[in-house]
Amino acid sequence: MIIARRTFLKLTGGAGAFAAAFAAGLVSSGRVLAANWNKAGFESKALADVMKSLGATGATDSKDIIITAPDIAENGAVVPVAITSRLPNTQQISIVAEKNPFPLAATFDVTGGGEGYVSVRIKMGQTSDVWAVVKADGKYFTARKEVKITVGGCG
């Protein structure tokens, strides 16, 4: 279905889309309100740079992080991703779609009684590994899962 595909492309944008968006909007607007917003991380174009911005370079794989996401997503504009961390004292969870033009999608700081669990929906431009980067007890751990993106529709 072509309308869906068009919509998908428009709403998610391509690589150029994200770059242009950042150049035109965020970077110059100076109206970034969230004080702790990780500008360097959200502007990073490579996984390694994202990890660096999070201070997570050299993080180790952990089986205590579970990524719940579809093997195949019908609609790349809405890919559900839930992260469960069983690591003691989970402090932060980030979701990174490696092949997105700007891979870092979201970071969640867990405080107080918050559990090591978040669920969200992200845009993905193409089939890619989705990474969970978890800070627990001051150390960084990762897990990843591939999500295949097909542009759904019947046209």
Binding site: I2, I72, C154, G155
Partner: protein, 204 residues
């Protein structure tokens, strides 16, 4: 559970319209309830003889005579490319097989492209590694591997795409050439895509 005619109708006080009355009412809707940018496009709703025969309601069966008529009309409809060559370029055919666009009408405008997509991916499994394929029609994976690429197979394949009703009267598959959705030349590319040993559809 398969649905039948509404048995509850008997319990009501209205009368069951006979099929001629229903047809009259419904055809009036068809003629009044659709819009198109041009009168010619509105004519797409007009059925040809074969479509009339193939619009069986519910469990109604095609009679042998009807099937024979559909086959006869289909056979007569088939035209071959002026070049006489039935096997084109499989790469073009590959693109066509994965193109589902063209000729739709929305917001008072016709989706006009140089040529229409072949629609294959919507209904058929294609190359072995493809996920985003339909299953309304049978899998075409390995089509050429099973059949070879003789002239006879090329002709059969061409004809089945051009007007599949010549072989399977009233099947769900569109008569892609006969309805002018595709040109004869486009169909030769799809034949190549199905038969060529180098085509992804014949990857082992």
């Amino acid at each position: 559970m398969v649905l039948g005619a509404p048995a509850l109708i008997a319990a009501g006080c209205a009368t069951f319209p006979d099929s001629a009355t229903t047809q009259r009412i419904a055809e009036k809707m068809v003629s009044e309830d659709f819009t198109a940018p041009t009168p010619a496009l509105l004519k797409r709703l007009v059925q040809d003889r074969s479509q009339q025969i193939c619009s069986k309601i519910g469990d109604a069966r095609l009679t042998q005579e009807e099937a024979a008529e559909v086959v006869k009309l289909a056979r007569a409809s088939i035209q071959y490319p002026s070049s006489g060559k039935l096997v084109g370029n499989w790469k073009i055919g590959d693109d066509l097989a994965h193109d589902g666009a063209g000729d739709r009408i929305q917001g008072g405008r016709l989706e006009k492209r140089k040529e229409n997509g072949g629609l294959c991916q919507n209904c058929h499994a294609l190359a072995p590694d493809e996920i985003n394929v339909g299953n309304v029609g049978p899998s075409l994976t390995g089509y050429g591997l099973q059949r070879g690429n003789s002239e006879a197979i090329a002709k059969l394949t061409y004809e089945r795409i051009y007007n599949t009703w010549a072989y399977s009267p009233c099947s769900n598959m569109p008569r892609l050439g006969a309805t002018r959705h595709l040109t004869p030349e486009q169909i030769t590319h799809m034949v190549a895509y199905l038969l060529d040993p180098a085509s992804p559809i014949n990857k082992r």
